[in-house]
């Protein structure tokens, strides 16, 4: 099987008037279709920068990023992006928030609208379609934001700490929820997080980045003896603790 995403020797620096900061140094990895990858690293190491590069927001200074052989462009339709907050627009209803991407891309086709209907129905948002975002719980808002992203049928999903604005209880439930949905929709995804348990509970592989300038310190494949892999179930798996300790030790070198 060919990888969906190939990242080779990518480096990047920030330029300001006061000087140059090297953010990423020589990053290389592959991502297979259907795989869920988590990226962890000390805060400010350049995790989000990596996502910005992958989605083509700005070009890498060195190295190549190829998605099915083609470098991603800004606003690439093959890539969906979930930000730290849901950023639902308060002046739109939930339904019109979900339509936002289709409106921008002028892709309100019957097929895509039907897909939205199906997701609204499956994920319990159907009765909230005329509600304002402020009337929804944090979890429901995050679901709406996910449907907004999935409506465009991206091949690759980038998740930039999408649960970090939620309180702990909601966070566990929402990450479980989103994890199940992504598995059900068979999405390839990269999750950036600073939460080790979240990374293990959701991902097939965890990439550990070093402190700035970030290079790949280690790649940890997560293999579990579970019949059904859901984020909440993983947290109770016998291997969970040893993975946690392994990643914790690796990260602690850069603390």
């Amino acid at each position: 099987m060919k990888p969906l995403l190939e990242i080779r020797n990518v480096s990047l620096s920030y330029h300001t008037v006061s000087g140059e900061t090297k953010a990423l140094s020589n990053i290389s990895f592959d991502l297979m279709p259907g795989e869920f990858l988590a990226v962890v690293g000390p805060s400010g190491c350049g995790k989000s920068t990596l996502l910005n590069l992958i989605c083509g927001m700005f070009p890498a200074e060195e190295g190549t990023i190829l998605m099915n052989g083609i470098p991603p462009s800004p606003g690439d339709p093959r890539i969906g992006y979930m930000l730290q907050k849901d950023h639902l627009l308060e002046w739109r209803t939930i339904y019109r928030n979900i339509l936002l991407g289709l409106e921008i891309r002028r892709e309100k086709t019957p097929e895509k609208l039907a897909y939205i209907e199906e997701m609204l129905d499956t994920y319990g948002l159907d009765k909230f379609r005329t509600a304002r975002p402020s009337q929804l719980s944090g979890g429901m808002r995050q679901r709406a934001a996910l449907i907004r992203t999935l409506a465009l049928k991206p091949e690759l999903l980038l998740l930039d700490e999408p649960f970090s604005a939620l309180d702990y209880q909601t966070r566990l439930n929402v990450s479980d929820d989103i994890g199940r949905i992504l598995k059900k929709e068979r999405k390839t995804a990269i999750l950036v997080t600073h939460d080790i348990s979240e990374a293990i509970s959701m991902a097939d592989r965890v990439i550990i980045l070093s402190a700035r300038p970030a290079h790949i310190a280690r790649i940890v494949p997560i293999q579990l003896s579970l019949d059904e892999r859901t984020p909440l179930a993983v947290r109770g798996a016998p291997e969970f603790k040893s993975y946690f300790n392994l990643i914790w030790k690796e990260l602690n070198q850069y603390a």
Binding site: M57, G75, L83, H87, L100, G101, I104, R105
Partner: protein
Amino acid sequence: MPDLSAAQKQYLFRVRREKYLIHVSRIFLFLGFLLLWEVSARRGWIDSFIFSSPSEIWRTFLRMVQDQSLFTHIGITLMETLVSFVFTVFLGIGTAVLLWCCPKLSRILEPYLVVLNSLPKSALAPLLIVWLGANVRTIIVAGMSVAIFGSVINLYTGFREADPEKLKLIRTLGGTKKDELTKIVLPSSVPLILSVMKVNIGLCLVGVIIGEFIGARQGLGYLIIYGSQTFKLTWVLMSIVILCVIAMGLYAILDFIEKRAQKW
């Protein structure tokens, strides 16, 4: 209504009594002021030739309503204010959008805008009369000149404060600068636009009156100047009272629109 505890009832009673007291005090303050003014004028404590009196103002008002001359003056001033207000709103939003679209242009123009905004606009009025002539157009421009620079600065500052993460969301969805503007910046600025409009309507009225002072044959500003020059101070005071009412009315209309628009 559910049964309320005695303490809750007492609390509600206190809240209502205070609200009532404030209303009554306001009315009494107003009536007391009018009464004091009237009595002072009649008793000769103040010179009624200079200070007039409420009853004198009322009589003048009725007379001018009867010969209909007052409606012309009020109508002209109102029309000029509303026209300059509408132009200010459109020009203000348009310029702010232009500045938002071209950050370089805005950086170049920033010091000029700041200077023009802090300049006392009444200083421009004589110039406008000479340049554009003593007509309604000049007065409308005078009205705009007072409000426009401040509203451009306020709107542009507000536009720039649009959540950068929301703008990023638009870009990740494949949107352009135009999408950022129409989907995020403008809708999120609706409350700001309304509050700027609320300030503008008052400022336009100020500008219009300044314009009428120097270059008009009609309008409340003209009535004030004419009255003061011919020592008909009753006219002046009546015009000022009418201006108060107009300012209050225009503000109330925009306040109503603002409250209706902010439903979310």
